[in-house]
Symmetry: C2
Subunit: 462 residues, 2 copies
């Protein structure tokens, strides 16, 4: 693989422009208005996989958005790497906070990215990180250095909880057989502090609807007489956490994994500066569960966040309305041993039970997933670690992320293989936020590093 650096150097402009083309397609899986764009994006990924050297690529229908499957099998006796990624993106709103339109990619230099970063929804999450694998495959095939078999499973529903990927896997167990699953949908600590994600939080995403009177009312004539669904919704939500920001849902903490003192001490060694952290976010203070450090609250502890709330008059000026309904989207990040379906049930039962008689409450589950922790003593992890050593000149730090890839735990259960999370993005990439971007340096570094993983892993299986 020793000419990978020069190959990347030689082709980098095309690598970037091919990604820019993909980023122009608004593949927003959460919004049914973009159904056609989802298909167009899947077709674009198919074409790129073929160009990169796959012998077989298919767009596989599911009850939801299609999965793009690709493979290059060079020798049944060699190990197989399954690459997972997703071509769908988060909704871009609030649009007014973007400095350039989310689906018109622009390249700009930033303090962190002197070589430029691509600004667009999906630049990092996950079109950019997914394309690193496609380009890495191109390098290995064009230079006849692919040391093992490779399969790609690129889905279109990750941002809406991989609704139908479980169904797809169940129906393609044979086809998806592999020795290790490789995913780039996480971040690393810094350009000079490479890290491998060894843990992900689980997720339970709920939506609640509170209904009071059967129509919007005049807040003067009715104010004080009937339950205002917004007032009551704020009481219900606020009661879900206590004064120490512990979650009050009965049974919520029942299975929560408690880390040992050593494990917590080891975590505390990761480079982190709270003053810088606050400065970057313009906040006067951090906030969260009492008794845990910021790093711990963001990775090994479960959380409850309102992701959206709405009700009543939200336009310009004033309207003295007492609304009929109020809504909220509420998600909980979960840790190992918490069963997301059980948590969703506990949430529903609790939320319905605390609502006063004056309103009716509807609680629906959007989606969820289990937390995941990967061991660091197996061949796959070692292969990844050595790959970073080669290209970064440093041993990567194993790090547990606060994010979730709900489907990861299912991979392990259904496909019986370990998952390696090699992320090349950074926390500052503003994924899920306005002005999402991906450093060109990071993109190219990923393309350069991935082939070494293939080599190390293939060698380890001989």
């Amino acid at each position: 693989m020793d000419n990978v650096k020069s190959y990347v150097e030689e082709h980098k402009d095309r690598f970037v422009s091919e990604l820019v083309d993909l980023l122009k397609i608004p593949s927003i899986s959460a919004d049914s208005k973009f159904k056609n764009e989802m298909i167009t994006t899947a077709q674009a990924v198919k074409t790129e996989l073929e160009k990169a050297g796959c012998d077989l690529v298919e767009i596989c229908d599911t009850p939801g958005h299609p999965v793009v499957y690709g493979e290059k099998i060079i020798d049944k006796n060699l190990p197989t790497v399954l690459v997972y990624g997703h071509y769908d993106v988060q909704p871009p709103d609030p649009l007014d906070l973007w400095n350039s339109p989310p689906f018109e990619p622009v390249i700009k230099e930033t303090a962190l990215h002197p070589d430029g970063a691509i600004f667009a929804r999906g630049a990092c999450d996950d079109k950019g990180q997914m394309y690193m694998h496609v380009k890495a495959l191109e390098y290995m095939t064009k230079t006849n250095q692919l040391p093992c078999n490779v399969k790609f499973m690129i889905e279109g529903e990750e941002e809406v909880g991989s609704k139908h990927l479980g169904w797809f896997i169940e129906n393609n167990i044979e086809k998806l057989q592999n020795d290790v699953i490789l995913i780039s949908d996480t971040s690393m600590i810094a350009k000079d502090v490479p890290s491998i994600t060894t843990g992900l939080r689980g997720l339970s995403y709920m939506e609640v609807e509170v209904t009071g009177p059967n129509r919007d009312l005049h807040s003067g004539l009715y104010g004080g007489t009937v339950g205002n669904p917004i007032n009551i919704l704020t009481k219900l939500i606020s009661s879900l956490t206590d004064e120490n920001n512990h979650i009050t849902i009965p049974g919520f903490y029942y299975n929560v994994e408690e880390l040992s003192a050593e494990e917590r001490a080891k975590m505390a060694e990761a480079p982190y500066n709270e003053e810088e952290y606050k400065k970057k976010l313009d906040i006067n203070d951090v906030y969260g569960e009492a008794g845990f450090s910021t790093l711990e609250r963001g990775s090994i502890r479960p959380t409850l966040d309102v992701n959206g709330i709405w009700g009543g008059y939200i336009g310009e000026g004033a309207k003295t309305v007492l609304p009929s309904k109020a809504f909220a989207k509420i998600s909980m990040r979960l840790v190992p041993n918490q069963d997301w379906q059980e948590i969703s049930e506990l949430f529903k039962k609790h939320f319905e039970s605390i609502a006063p008689k004056a309103v009716t409450v509807k609680v629906n589950a959007h989606h969820g997933g289990y937390a995941y922790v990967t061991p660091i003593d197996n061949d796959a992890y070692k292969a990844a670690s050595k790959a970073y050593e080669k290209t970064f000149g440093k041993t990567p730090i194993p790090q547990r992320s606060g994010g979730s890839i709900p489907i990861v735990s299912l991979f392990e259960k259904a496909l019986k293989s370990k998952i390696i999370l090699m992320g090349f993005g950074q926390d500052t990439d503003a994924i899920h936020s306005p002005n999402e971007h991906f450093g060109i340096w990071n993109y190219l570094k990923g393309i350069e590093t991935i082939p070494y993983f293939y080599q190390n892993f293939a060698d380890s299986q001989k």
Copy 2:
């Protein structure tokens, strides 16, 4: 005035169609997009006042939307009635809950309105009730029975707190001199239970903005580490009322007028059926401040209602965002002796003081007004009461309303005259709600009743 019934009967179709024409103009004062429609509406009102017999009508500019002033002075020595009303309307949203477009009036029969009701934004509040006075003037001038002078002050900013009416009055004290102010912007108990509104609540309307991190964040990577502005907003709002739904803002109740046992007993005599009340609104229970009846909570007690709340992702599906900002519109209904400016200050001070360091809070006042109570032992009230006796065959019940007409208390202060609130609408008219309507029977009954007030009042001043 004895031919008023037949005059109304003869001209009712035109009276209705003239109102329908006015209702077609979307005069939404809260939304600057409708600035031109406001002017068009003012011009339409001017034309109708001229047709009704005013000798002088002018559209008076203010720093905001214009005021339509009209007068017919028949004899300087006779008393003068000043009619106040407004031509602006509430925003119509949520639009999807209207059965017909808010500015395309339709006439439909309902259980309560066998003679039909006009469905449109502003049908009752206040274009319909304001037009009753224009048509009543037409009757009195066309039949040479106008017993006194009349002035009209029809403003365009009532639904946004009469922002500039104070300014207009200060600058036109002479012109607006009168012996009584007549307003139809309230409701009566029922068609067979006429009532006169003797009290209005005050209002303080605030808007709050809670800011956490400087950008929307990924709720996985940051969930648990920083203050989520929505979670915190729900805690702040929920803390504004305690478990008995008493408002917790320090000093809030300081000046609240406490009614005597007799007064409360008298109130309790008003016809009211809680089961019917709940049935009409499809609620299992009423809700509000402990220790007071529903009627009391809706009229003589102050309240705090969230009129709108928004933040984060409110689109279809799920977005795992930890938003940068969350907002709410919060209004308080006030009772006699509460100073709305002082209450707004107390709210601001308190809300800012309870916010945790993890967020910054902005609190702005939209508008407000004082509560008002009118005595029932003066000539004006007696003249109104006798007018109802004549046309309804029943003595009207004096009733305190929960609504507010912020400007009313200013009228008394600035113009030194009493205000009579002769409302012909009903609580079921859905003012400020989708499908606002005004019964044609109510509209015509108002036109029929008003001239008797003029006669009774003029006689009482001889």
